[in-house]
């Protein structure tokens, strides 16, 4: 089935169907891939400056943005924190981006992270005495499987019944939160001596080890960056490979561009949709595991901290491309961590960071606006990320 798909790509006739061109473009459109996101960030910072001027006065703009930059990258601790915050965003961003590539709007990354983080914790607090080389991969695998299961459900519902994934993933988020509350109050998982829903501490052998502790700098024990970041980069590369170098990835994108044409081309649309959601859920599950096995070391309600929703924004900013997702995640991490320094050193509140993030999304979501402001020519019609209710 998939062979026909690749054939269609390889036996290129001068008159290719439009959707093939869209799925496998010969010329990379840099204006939409890199220039627009960059200008969107720039524009958001400019408008953010206007907010600072109105609240704190003109003189606060440069000190605030200076503190933002220093706080995010000025020193080992800053860099460690920026990448630490970026790590779960990369995983969750990939989960959303993968869905976008296949025309699916996965709003359920938050719930998939929750379930994945929880299953990882359950494995992480069990099996005392297991060596770390077995325990940690096992816990991560459990996180992947948990998230994948939470992606499988909306995938099947979408593929078999046509139930829209936007609705089902949102609903499954709520179910995931309540499952978390319930499981965390069971004697097996609940921390001893606690009455609130909080898990036992993950065993040392299942914790993601810190990776910057070898640095010959002062305060090295405070550098919290862990193996999860390396893992996230590796996974981003794998997702890139699947999407753009493998047959199955071509199918995913073909389904995203035009499911009817993909079906006509002999692709199994149903199983592609399910597989995309399973993989996306698994990626988000790894993001949740990264939190519970890494920086937090336990699970409690709300440990996902809206990361699954931020992921939607940064998948948009990253143009649903794994490389773009990694860069966007680091940008969001930098804003978060730099925002802390900005809050301490100046009177500009952390809410400005939320405003800037929102503005970035506004500008990214309206590429024509950015093109008009900066007078950039070209650009195809707005890319449709998802399909409507009826298809």
């Amino acid at each position: 089935m998939s062979d026909e798909g690749t054939e269609a790509k390889e036996n290129k006739e001068p008159k290719e169907p439009r959707w093939v061109e869209r799925v496998a473009p010969k010329n990379v459109d840099w204006s939409s891939l890199a220039v627009i996101p960059f200008l969107a960030v720039f524009s958001a910072l400019v408008v953010g400056a206007v907010f600072i001027i109105f609240t704190e006065g003109l003189g606060s703009v440069l000190p605030a943005y200076g503190a933002l930059l220093r706080g995010a990258f000025g020193g080992w601790n800053s860099i460690s924190e920026t990448l630490l915050v970026a790590t779960p965003l990369i995983f969750a961003g990939l989960a959303v981006a993968l869905g976008f590539q296949a025309g699916l709007f996965n709003i359920g990354a938050e719930g998939q992270m929750t379930i994945g983080g929880l299953t990882a914790v359950i494995v992480g607090i069990s099996f005392e005495g297991l060596p770390a080389v077995i325990h940690l991969p096992l816990a991560l695998a459990a996180g992947f499987v948990g998230g994948a299961l939470w992606g499988f459900i909306p995938g099947v519902l979408r593929a078999k019944t046509g139930a829209h994934e936007v609705i089902t993933t949102i609903m499954l988020n709520f179910i995931a939160f309540r499952i978390l509350d319930y499981i965390l109050k069971q004697p097996f998982t609940q921390a001893e001596g606690r009455f609130d829903p909080i898990s036992k501490d993950v065993l040392e052998s299942a914790r993601l080890p810190r990776i910057l502790t070898w640095l010959p700098v002062e305060g090295v024990e405070m550098l919290r960056l862990n193996l999860g970041f390396i893992l996230a980069l590796a996974v981003a590369w794998i997702v890139y490979w699947i999407l753009f170098k493998s047959t199955i990835g071509f199918e995913f994108r073909a389904v995203g561009a035009n499911p009817d044409a993909a079906k006509y081309g002999g692709m199994a649309v149903t199983s592609a949709i399910i597989l995309v959601m399973v993989l996306a859920g698994g990626l988000a599950g790894l993001g949740g595991s990264n939190e519970t096995l890494g920086v937090l070391g336990r699970a409690f309600p709300g440990f996902t901290a809206q990361i699954g929703f931020d992921a939607i924004a940064l998948a948009l900013l990253g143009r649903s491309h794994p490389g773009g997702v990694v860069l966007s995640a680091i940008l969001f991490g930098a804003l978060r961590v730099g925002g802390r320094a900005m809050q301490v050193e100046t009177d500009v509140g952390i809410d400005l960071i939320i405003i800037i993030q929102a503005l970035i999304i506004v500008f990214v979501a309206a590429p024509e606006l950015v093109r008009a402001i900066y007078r950039i020519k070209g650009g195809e019609e707005a890319r449709q990320l998802t399909r409507g209710w009826s298809t």
Partner: protein
């Protein structure tokens, strides 16, 4: 359309340029002048208020003739600094101390957006060189312990957390006798209900910090039943088997509204939300419905949420500001010590706020009398018969 866009772009560039220039010019003159201005006023204030601070300090020790203002820094939980109750009341302790000349204008807060922020936020204040770091809330317990152990010479105060002796001894943990204060609210609620059903809910089931409010509320209702021979029911919390209704966080106002709606559907007409800002959702619904009372927590809601005053019955006050102010004064005076500190009803560490004018005077008098009995210890919440 195109032209407009162009102007917009021009405006953006202009703003940047102005911002860049403005800053350079300002740096030399205004900021230093400002800094001078603030120090001088702070000094003047410190002198002026030294006497009043002394007068206030008599409860513990005689204050030294003059104290040096300290830098107090507060790390909030995820509820945010303007949550109208928990974090905001604690921050009021800092601003009171600034007004009293005990804390410098440099005192600051950091809002945590997620649990991963707690530790770096504390670290940011360590880097800043704060004299006292106040971590607001039970949820910061583990991270405060870690950071206190790594920095044994730093003064820490944590709200709502009592460490076991031997654990994080340098940290002062402030806990509150909220059961007593909520007892008064329960009595009052049982006195005004027309349906005979009252209700309470929490944010997260945190032992004592949240559940003590709910315990006290239920005990207060039971006491009212005992004294008056009524049969007022309480929904949302059972102190005996420790089960009840919780929204799951201290952020989502919509959940507070939804829970309140379901309580009202079951006939409740007085609601005590113990969930920080989430309770505002209850207040908003009560104002729409009109015949439902809401009881505030932590701060006096007549002051922090005056827009709902028609439906506010009263507020269960938790002296977070008193605790924070006291800790700042102790650091300034050099008498600060680690360990658990209880703020009880007897010394007004907790209490009941203003009561709505629509409440009949006899009932208000009964509540006032009950407060005295609680202070004396002649009535103990929890001794009441089950109803």
């Amino acid at each position: 359309m195109k032209r407009n866009a162009r102007y917009l772009a021009l405006l953006g560039v202009l703003v940047l340029v102005i911002a860049a220039c403005g800053d350079g010019a300002d740096d030399g003159t205004t900021t230093t002048a400002e800094a001078e201005g603030t120090t001088t006023t702070a000094e003047a204030e410190a002198e002026e208020t030294a006497t009043t601070a002394e007068a206030e300090a008599t409860t513990t020790t005689e204050a030294p003739p003059s104290v040096e203002a300290i830098t107090a820094c507060q790390v909030t939980d995820t509820g945010g600094i303007d949550d109208k109750s928990f974090n905001q009341t604690a921050w009021k302790g800092v601003t009171d101390a600034i007004d009293a000349g005990l804390a410098t204008a440099d005192s600051d807060f950091l809002e945590s957006q997620s649990a991963t922020d707690y530790q770096p936020n504390i670290q940011a204040f360590l880097d800043k060189g704060c004299d006292l770091i106040i971590t607001v809330g039970f949820l910061l317990g583990a991270d405060t312990e870690t950071m206190a152990n790594a920095n044994p010479d730093q003064h820490f105060q944590i709200i709502d957390f009592a460490y076991e002796p031997g654990v994080a001894d340098s940290v002062q943990g402030a806990v509150f006798g909220t059961t007593d204060a909520a007892f008064l609210a329960g009595y009052l609620a049982a006195g005004v209900t027309e349906t005979g059903i009252v209700a309470t809910y929490g944010g997260i089931q945190i032992p004592c910090a949240v559940t003590c409010f709910m315990d006290g509320f239920v005990y207060g209702v039971r006491y009212y039943n005992e004294v008056n021979g009524t049969d007022v029911q309480t929904l949302g919390w059972n102190p005996e088997d420790e089960t009840g209704v919780f929204t799951g966080d201290f952020e989502d106002l919509a959940k507070g509204r939804a829970v309140t709606q379901s309580f009202v559907d079951e006939g409740a007409d007085v609601i005590l939300p113990v969930a920080g800002p989430v309770g505002e959702g209850s207040a908003a619904l009560a104002l729409e419905l009109g015949d439902v009372w809401v009881i505030g927590v932590d701060a006096d809601w007549f002051e922090t949420l005056p827009q709902y005053e028609a439906q506010i019955l009263s507020s269960v006050l938790k002296g977070l500001d008193v605790a924070v102010f006291t800790a700042i004064r102790e650091v300034a005076e050099g008498t600060f010590e680690g360990g658990t500190r209880l703020y009880a009803i007897a010394e007004d560490g907790v209490g009941l706020g203003a009561i709505n004018d629509d409440v009949p005077q006899p009932l208000q008098d009964e509540v006032a009398a009950l407060l005295e009995s609680l202070k004396e210890g002649s009535i103990v919440p929890g001794d009441q018969a089950l109803s």
